[in-house]
């Protein structure tokens, strides 16, 4: 079973991604077996990554205290976690934001509001691969 960690300080982010991932009628779980974990801060995310080794991290960039860029740097600096696939999911939508996320070490970037089906198929493809 694949594990996806959703990191967002807002509950609404978790609610939508839970449907995107766990919904069996159209979400990722319709195609592959997976489970979703939640973290509400950068610090909690690093702890859960350390202990659970998820296959993918869906990471919000705008978070207080430790933002998504810093979380990404920590993940990449840790030998045990440096290969985890990170998808930045952020409300920031400037063209420069995509580059900043990729430069910081993220593998992919989705801006909110994202296209649900495109995200579902993207996740499925990556986790299957």
């Amino acid at each position: 079973m694949k594990k996806i960690l959703v990191v967002d300080d807002q509950e609404s982010g978790h609610v939508i991604l839970r449907d995107v991932i766990e919904n069996t009628l159209g979400g990722v779980c319709k195609y592959i077996s997976c489970e979703m974990m939640s973290a509400y801060s950068g610090r909690e995310a690093l702890e859960k990554i350390e202990s659970n080794k998820p296959d993918m991290v869906m990471l919000d960039i705008n978070m207080p205290q430790m933002d998504g860029f810093e979380v990404t740097r920590h993940i990449r600096q840790n030998e045990d976690t440096k290969d985890i696939y990170i998808v930045a999911v952020t409300a920031q939508a400037m063209s420069d934001d995509r580059n900043r996320c990729l430069r910081a070490g993220c593998n992919e970037y989705f801006s909110k509001p994202f296209d649900v089906l495109r995200l579902v198929h993207f996740i499925v493809d990556k986790l299957r691969g």
């Binding site: 609404s12 939508i16 449907d19 995107v20 919904n23 009628l25 159209g26 979400g27 409300a91 920031q92 939508a93 400037m94 063209s95 909110k112 509001p113 994202f114 296209d115 649900v116 089906l117």
Partner: protein, 255 residues
């Protein structure tokens, strides 16, 4: 005066003098309508009934008074009745008993010594006197008009000043009301302000659009035809709004 005859009042107590005048008018075919008064009293009586004479021609010595009495009488009449007294020409047999500058000062228009040729100058002098009187009347009328206009203008200015003050006060009040808007106009939005604005518009769409899309793609069960139609409509309108925000972002980035 136009084509109307001059209206003259002739004050002469001597028959000979009266006849001379009548003869002058007839001979020279002068356009005069004249009334003759034989004394100061008769002059007074005539003036009480008829007031529109163009000129008074008077002898300086009459049975009941002289030229000074007549000038004094006419001056009183003018003061009491506010009638404008016409020009007065004084005629005299000799100038020993009369002070010409004084009599002019007292209101006479002209003085004539009744010599052998005075009648030949008289019509021209009468005409000049009447023209002068008409000019004076027109001037007084104009003066009165100017006076009225001046007062009207003053009234308008006073009224206008009040209105202008009211308008000024009103403008001042409106100016105060508009000041906050003026400040808003002068506000320049930085890129950060515009990015924040875009973010605030996007935030509700971040929840609305994915949820609508999941409903539309039947993540939560099958929709009937009407539900599908409505959801589809909401989804497309939401995408339209998102497209507008993206255009706004592009313009912000261009700036």
């Amino acid at each position: 005066m136009g084509t109307q005859n001059y209206q003259l009042l002739v004050v002469e107590d001597q028959k000979r003098g009266q006849e001379d005048f009548k003869e002058l008018v007839q001979k020279q075919k002068l356009s005069y309508d004249f009334t003759i008064a034989g004394s100061v009293q008769e002059l007074k009586s005539i003036l009480q009934q008829k007031k529109d004479f163009d000129l008074i021609l008077t002898d300086d010595q009459l049975v009941d008074g002289n030229a000074y009495d007549i000038l004094s009488l006419l001056s009183d009449l003018e003061d009491n009745t506010k009638i404008q007294i016409p020009p007065i020409i004084v005629l005299s047999k000799d100038d020993h008993d009369i002070n010409v500058p004084d009599i002019i000062k007292k209101g006479a228009y002209a003085y004539f010594l009744k010599d052998h040729e005075f009648l030949s100058f008289l019509p021209v002098t009468i005409k000049n006197a009447i023209d002068h009187f008409e000019t004076l009347k027109r001037w007084k009328k104009t003066e009165s008009l100017i006076d009225n206009l001046y007062h009207q203008l003053n009234d308008y200015i006073e009224k206008g000043t009040g209105e202008i003050e009211a308008i000024h006060k009103n403008l001042e009040q409106n100016h105060q009301k508009l000041k906050p808007m003026d400040r808003l106009k002068k506000t320049t939005f930085s890129k950060t302000d515009l990015d924040n604005l875009s973010h605030k518009f996007r935030t509700p769409l971040n929840v609305i659009l994915p949820n609508i899309q999941m409903l539309k793609d039947q993540f939560f069960g099958t929709l009937n035809g009407v539900q599908m139609e409505r959801i589809d409509h909401i989804f497309h309108q939401g995408k339209e709004l998102l497209s507008m925000i993206e255009q706004f972002d592009c313009k912000t980035n261009d700036k």
